[in-house]
């Protein structure tokens, strides 16, 4: 009877768990770097060709005057590929998101070059699609939708999520749309966050009158215990008040 019970439990797990294990996490942080560094693997080489979406987020402390370039290198079915992300001396963090294909048994590396100010941070995060053995599946997610809204939230903010007790990396997917209309009232959305150096960051998108959705995909580094919020407003003045019907969806992957 005990073996029957075990068999039943194992069978149930076997049926239920694969849906959880499809997505794997890629995470490699380079914190408080005072020098550039040479090519460093960001994950274990896959045993078969694999697809990933990768984000890079490059930051430096306020008043640091570095001009650092991060270069991600990988090999796909066609050969060697690379992508760069640079931060200038304006102190604003930079982020990018892009898909890559990685050939089996090849390395994905990141390196930096340029001039370092006081220090800099680089976060490489990503999701692997059905690529076993290159990461783990401990991804978390958050969602915030404003569906069929007819008012600007301005001046009030809506919380998308609050970061836990440690600084963390996230990938955001944002969409705002309003049905095609002949009016002139365009609704906009800002995502408000606080980075690891306590700087306030704003990412903004505005809907289109022809009904085409406005989309943003970007990585964020969020200071421990701070909230990531959204606010919607009219592109013209006043920023508050009744609006055309619009939809906002914000989805977040936490690494």
């Amino acid at each position: 009877m005990r073996s029957l019970h075990s068999l039943a439990v194992v069978s149930l797990l076997a049926v239920a768990l694969p849906a959880q294990a499809e997505l794997t996490r890629v995470a490699k942080d380079f914190l408080n770097r005072t020098k550039v560094f040479s090519a460093t693997p960001i994950m274990t080489a896959p045993t078969s060709d694999g697809s990933y979406v990768i984000s890079m987020f490059l930051n430096q402390p306020p008043k640091s005057k570095g001009a650092v370039v991060a270069t991600l290198r990988w090999t796909n079915e066609q050969g060697a590929q690379s992508r760069i992300l640079s931060i200038q001396d304006n102190n604003l963090p930079q982020g990018t998101v892009f898909p890559i294909r990685v050939a089996a048994h090849t390395r994905v590396t990141v390196e930096t070059s340029g001039t370092v100010g006081a220090s800099y941070d680089l976060f490489v995060r990503g999701v692997g699609f059905w690529v076993p053995g290159t990461g783990n599946s401990s991804l978390s997610d958050y969602h915030k939708n404003l569906l069929q809204w007819t008012n600007a939230t301005y001046p009030n903010r809506q919380t998308v999520f609050t970061a836990p007790a440690t600084d963390k990396s996230y990938l955001l997917r944002v969409n705002i749309n309003e049905p095609a209309n002949t009016g002139t009232d365009i609704m906009c959305l800002s995502i408000l966050s606080t980075d690891e150096y306590s700087r306030s960051l704003t990412n903004t998108a505005c809907a289109n009158l022809d009904g085409a959705p406005a989309m943003m995909e970007f990585p964020l580094r969020v200071k421990a215990g701070t909230a990531v919020q959204l606010i919607t407003f009219h592109a013209g003045l006043p920023m508050w008040g009744g609006s055309p019907t619009y939809n906002v969806t914000v989805d977040v992957i936490g690494f």
């Binding site: 039943a8 892009f98 749309n177 049905p179 009904g211 959705p213």
Partner: protein
């Protein structure tokens, strides 16, 4: 015995409910294609309006001019399209319940090409 099974079943259900079940995977590979193809479903249509982060990645030899078009219907019933001019891209999709997310290719094929459409579905 039955009680034990029931308890185990409920425990597993509880475990699954608290796991990150709200992220689902989208994956459709088109390998070694020697011709362009018409609109083809990428995944099963959702039963409720859904949010996705979709990536497109096109590998083709020099000389090929294949372009991929991803098309869908948004929650307002409006047709939308993303064209991966430079071969790859990441974009957000709101997909109306019961409608399809499709991909099609056009252009000149040089030898063969691979197209990968991947993504994450977000569910509350």
């Amino acid at each position: 015995m039955l009680r034990k099974l029931l308890i185990s079943f409920l425990a597993i259900l509880a475990l699954l409910a608290t796991a990150s079940a709200s992220l689902t995977e989208v994956r459709q590979d088109f390998l070694n294609q020697t011709a362009t193809f018409p609109a083809t479903n990428v995944m099963t249509s959702p039963s409720a309006d859904g949010s996705y982060l979709i990536t497109v990645y096109l590998d083709q030899p020099a000389g090929g001019t294949v372009v991929a078009f991803v098309a869908w219907t948004d929650e307002n019933g409006a047709p939308q399209q993303y064209q991966a001019f430079d071969g790859s891209g990441v974009f957000a999709v709101r997909l109306q319940a019961g409608t399809a997310l499709t991909v099609a290719t056009s252009g000149t094929v040089q030898g063969s090409y691979n197209l990968f459409v991947d993504g994450v579905g977000f569910w509350n």
